[in-house]
């Protein structure tokens, strides 16, 4: 019985993230448009775009290889699995122990590895520019993320997301400098990883500063739809991660008994999650509207700061133990 319920919760989680991801993208676009006093497209526009793309014929470059054709599926699958492992409205998911936070970061790394390769497959300079910049950004963002994981793991004594989330709900967290540093660092990494302003501009094409779009430039039809969906999923993943780690209120804790009260708790959890996501979208839109995009070669400074913040947070914990 418990297993069935856990399976259902896990399945719901998988469906939920993939169903919500385009909405988040749409919501951010809507907020951004409203902030500059445009009306903006409807929040469900990303769904329409995806539907249109999957129905279209896929145009492949003449020299595109099998890697180019399989990469979108791999990118989507790796991102989806990673997103499904981050607790959204309930902790203690059935397969939570499959991959801890380090493995989730590495799964996103796998997706990026294949996207960067796909960008180089056709052999255009746009693809090359995108891939080479993406790996530069990743080579700083990924260690920063690992440092954040270190900070959390040292605080909680676990790299398991469920355990960390359960710890964060519990009253013995307290206010800590490390957590503040980790939060700032995580937000910076999230901005860089999701190709948002000021690191990259998700709304442009044909700009010499583009990174993510440049890699996906040769993609069309269903392949493009998968890559778009994967990047929405990644954005949702980072939002969920931030809310799960730093705003865990309302989440259903580990494995309660099945009852009306539990269902109520799940409903509250889902509602709280929706509210937190909406808040996250609004903050991101506000931030992106308020700031200008930076030059590509200033990105390392930005990410270097994220890395150092994460490192400082971890170092504080290393040296303050046992004091």
């Amino acid at each position: 019985m418990a297993l069935t319920r856990d399976l259902i919760v896990q399945g719901l989680q998988m469906l939920l993230v993939v169903a919500l991801a385009p909405l988040v993208t749409g919501l951010i676009r809507k907020f951004k448009a409203r902030l500059v006093r445009r009306r903006g497209p409807s929040v469900i526009q990303p769904y329409r775009d995806l539907l249109k793309l999957v129905r279209k014929e896929t145009v492949l470059a003449e020299n595109a290889s099998w890697l180019f054709r399989t990469a979108p599926y791999l990118i989507f699958a790796a991102t989806w699995v990673a997103a499904a492992l981050v607790p959204t409205f309930a902790t203690g998911l059935l397969f939570n122990w499959t991959a801890d936070l380090i493995a989730i970061v590495a799964l996103l790394g796998s997706a990026r590895f294949f996207l960067a390769l796909a960008g180089m497959d056709v052999g255009t300079s746009f693809g090359g520019i995108g891939s080479s910049r993406e790996v530069m950004i990743a080579s700083l963002a990924e260690p920063a993320m690992i440092m954040i994981v270190f900070s959390l793991a040292l605080l909680v004594g676990s790299t398991q997301l469920s355990t960390i989330a359960a710890f964060m709900i519990s009253p013995n967290v307290g206010l800590r400098v490390t957590l503040g540093l980790a939060l700032v660092s995580l937000m910076m990494v999230g901005i860089a990883e999701n190709a948002r302003i000021p690191v990259d501009n998700p709304a442009t094409h044909l700009e010499l500063t583009m990174v993510h779009e440049a890699m996906a430039l040769e993609y069309s039809g269903r392949h493009l739809a998968l890559i778009e969906l994967a990047s929405s999923l990644k954005l949702l993943l980072y939002l969920s991660l931030i809310t799960c780690l730093f705003l865990p209120w309302g989440m259903v804790p580990l494995r309660p008994e099945l009852s009306v009260a539990t269902l109520g708790a799940y409903a509250i959890g889902a509602g709280a999650y929706a509210a937190k996501l909406g808040l996250g979208c609004m903050m991101l839109a506000l931030f992106e509207t308020a700031i200008a995009k930076m030059r590509v070669f200033r990105v390392p400074t930005f990410l270097g700061a994220a890395l150092m913040l994460g490192f400082l947070g971890a170092l504080l914990l290393f040296v303050s133990r046992g004091l």
Binding site: T58, N63, W97, T98, A99, D100, P143, T159, Q160
Partner: protein, 668 residues
């Protein structure tokens, strides 16, 4: 018993070497040599594999070597594990060479030394006394040196051979001194006797430094790595695989043997030195690799990076051992051993892949390659697996060992020493950085070589290699994946080794539910490569099925779009140098004093614009050039001594004798 079987195997390998000399350069010689080497190494691999957990049989003493010592050979769990690594590498290299060796232009320079090299490495692992160890070590160095010089007409190879023999001699010299100290004043050359006596701490610390100098130079630890990226690529590719994948592991074995087994109780700062060396080696290795354009040299530098990761694990194990954290020490040690094993697999695979590319195109320079995924699909598939494994992507094997290393670092706040508490997280950051950069490095490696459009005619007309090579490369890729999916079995295999050296081992993994990996306890951390793989496979197939079934599966081929401005010439693609440019901008100025220089022709001139990159190898310039300069100046000064009369020579000898006697008299 096992030692005796293995000694017979080594003898037969030497026999194969002799046969290869006698047969000369017939066509059959190559197949015969590699075939027999493959069979012998398969036997050795199986014997060693069975003896990891088996009851240890007594040492075999042979009446060789110095008369009052003899030569002792022994298989204990540690040497058995490394015997498996070495001979698995030897097996795959030999089978690969069954196909690859046919393209060898001068087989007589390779064939006799190949089995001898393998025999030398195996003998190092078997040796149980200092004398036979050093002889085998030197034998291994010399045979590999001969293989490095197999294409000796190339000037670069000559230089590589020269630097290699210098560094190898230095290394052996350091090891000789280390064993001399370990043997003590009584001269206990057998390892069993060395264990029994306790060294004074200052001597033990000296042994640490000498062992790092001797074995570290063979492994390629900073700053002793300079020979490695010259020598490893110079040899034929299957030998490069052996040198990079396997011989560096023999050096790791030596470090473990001396520091964990022979040198007695460690001091806390030993671990710190090794951890810091490991972190620095990992980061610098991968940065060097990122700025190379020669395929095999990239792989050689990447070996340095991986050795750094292994060293960091060993250093952590040593630190935990000092403070009696048994479980943590076992975890760190297992992580290091596991990474050594993984590295031997994927590095062999990558060298085989670059060997296949070299045969197909005659090029090692990535800027002349490209688009090989169309011409060499099987090689491309296998190398993609290797690249994913070496970049530590889940669910491949490289990720598991790096994950274990990170888990170990997270245990280190328990350590009481301040030095360790400060520098271990710093090393964690260095390792995280080098893992991420390794991903970038291999995106570049794979993307420039196999993807895009061909950058030269040779790359455009490449032909797929032979079946032997394909079989081996695919098998290695499958093995990398299988170990990534089921790491528990490999970890359990290593339990006797940690048990014998540290007195404890990691909890048994293969009995955990769902075959996941739980290093400490379930609430702390767990990872299940199998399920991750199944989830990815299931979601990818689900997505593919749903889209093809419910939406469109129509596909059309069209010219490259490139935003409507496709560049016609393949030279307009990103090259290896331009791909590394963003990372060079970030790390280059500080660590390599990178300088970019653009020479634009004046307006109206038809001369091409030129772009130059200058990277300084700081370690070479700051450390090796002054030493070389000093040696040269000293020899210039001493040159005077060459042209003296016999009288003066005699008085010189007399003077030296008097001085020495005085020194002894004062010292006593």
């Amino acid at each position: 018993m096992q030692a005796l079987v293995l000694l017979w195997c080594i003898l037969s390998l030497l026999g194969v070497a002799v046969v290869a000399i006698l047969l000369g350069s017939y066509r059959i010689t190559s197949s015969l040599t590699y075939g027999m080497t493959a069979v012998v190494s398969a036997v050795m691999c199986v014997v060693a594999g069975m003896s990891i957990g088996a009851v240890q049989s007594p040492a075999v003493a042979l009446p060789l070597g110095l008369p009052w010592i003899g030569a002792e050979f022994l298989v204990d769990p540690l040497s058995a594990l490394f015997l498996v690594i070495v001979n698995l590498g030897g097996l795959v290299a030999s089978v690969y060479a069954l196909g690859y060796g046919r393209h060898e232009p001068s087989p007589r320079r390779v064939l006799p030394f190949f089995p001898a090299f393998l025999a030398g490495m195996t003998l190092v692992l078997l040796a149980a006394d200092a004398f036979s160890f050093l002889v085998s070590w030197e034998f291994m160095s010399l045979t590999s040196w001969a293989l490095v010089l197999s294409h000796h007409r190339d000037e670069n190879n000559q230089r590589a051979g020269y630097v290699y023999i210098l560094m190898a001699s230095l290394g052996t010299f350091a090891l000789l001194l280390a064993f001399g100290l370990l043997a003590g004043s009584e001269g206990h050359y057998a390892f069993a006797m060395m264990r029994g006596q306790s060294l004074p701490p200052s001597y033990a610390s000296l042994v640490l430094l000498l062992a790092l100098l001797g074995a570290g130079s063979k492994a390629g630890v900073l700053p002793l790595h300079v020979w490695l990226p010259l020598a490893h690529p110079a040899a034929p590719s299957h030998v490069s695989a052996l040198m990079s994948g396997v011989m560096t592991k023999v050096a790791i074995y030596t470090v473990i043997r001396i520091l964990f087994d022979l040198a007695g109780p460690p001091q806390w700062w030993w671990g710190l030195i090794i951890i810091l060396l490991g972190g620095a080696t990992a980061l610098m290795g991968v940065l060097y690799a990122l700025f190379q354009t020669d395929m095999k040299r990239i792989l050689a530098y990447s070996t340095i990076e991986n050795i750094g990761i292994i060293f960091a694990g060993l250093g952590l194990a040593l630190s935990f051992r000092v403070d009696h954290f048994g479980a943590a020490a076992a975890l760190a040690f297992t992580a290091a051993l596991f990474h050594a094993f993984n590295h031997s697999l994927f590095k062999s695979l990558m060298f085989f892949g670059s060997g296949a590319v070299l045969t197909a195109t005659g090029e090692r320079d990535m800027d002349k390659l490209g688009g090989l995924i169309h011409r060499m699909p099987v090689t491309a598939l296998a190398v993609l697996g290797g690249a994913a494994a070496i970049s530590a992507l889940p669910p491949w094997n490289g990720f598991v060992s790096e994950w274990l290393t990170f888990q170990t670092i997270l245990l280190s706040p328990e350590l009481p020493q301040w030095g360790l508490r400060l520098f271990v997280p710093a090393t964690g950051a260095l390792l995280a950085l080098s893992v991420a950069l390794a991903g970038a490095c291999f995106v570049r490696f794979y993307g420039i070589t196999f993807l895009g459009r061909p950058r030269s005619a040779a790359a455009g007309q490449a032909r797929e290699t032979d079946r032997w090579s394909h079989g081996v490369m695919l098998a290695l890729a499958a093995l990398c994946l299988a170990i990534g999916l089921l790491p528990g079995y490999v970890i359990d295999l290593m339990a006797p080794v940690t048990q014998s050296l540290l007195g404890t081992h990691m909890p048994q993994q293969s009995s955990v539910a769902w075959l996941s990996l739980i290093p400490i306890n379930k609430a702390r951390s767990s990872y299940n490569g199998l399920l991750v793989f199944l989830f990815i496979a299931a979601s990818a197939s689900l997505a593919a099925y749903a889209i093809h079934r419910l939406a469109s599966k129509a596909t059309r081929r069209a010219p490259i779009w490139a935003c409507g401005f496709p560049e016609l010439s393949p030279t307009a693609q990103y090259t290896a140098a331009s791909f590394a440019q963003p990372i060079r901008r970030v790390f280059g100025p500080l660590l390599f004093r990178a300088q970019e220089q653009v020479d634009m022709p004046p307006p109206g001139s038809m001369a091409p614009a030129r772009f130059r990159i200058r990277l300084d190898d700081i370690i070479w310039n700051m450390l090796y050039l002054p030493i070389a300069e000093g040696v040269r100046a000293a020899t210039d000064q001493l040159n005077v001594l060459q042209f003296l009369t016999i009288r003066r020579y005699l008085s010189l000898v007399f003077g030296v004798l008097v001085v020495l006697l005085l020194v002894i008299a004062i010292w006593r």
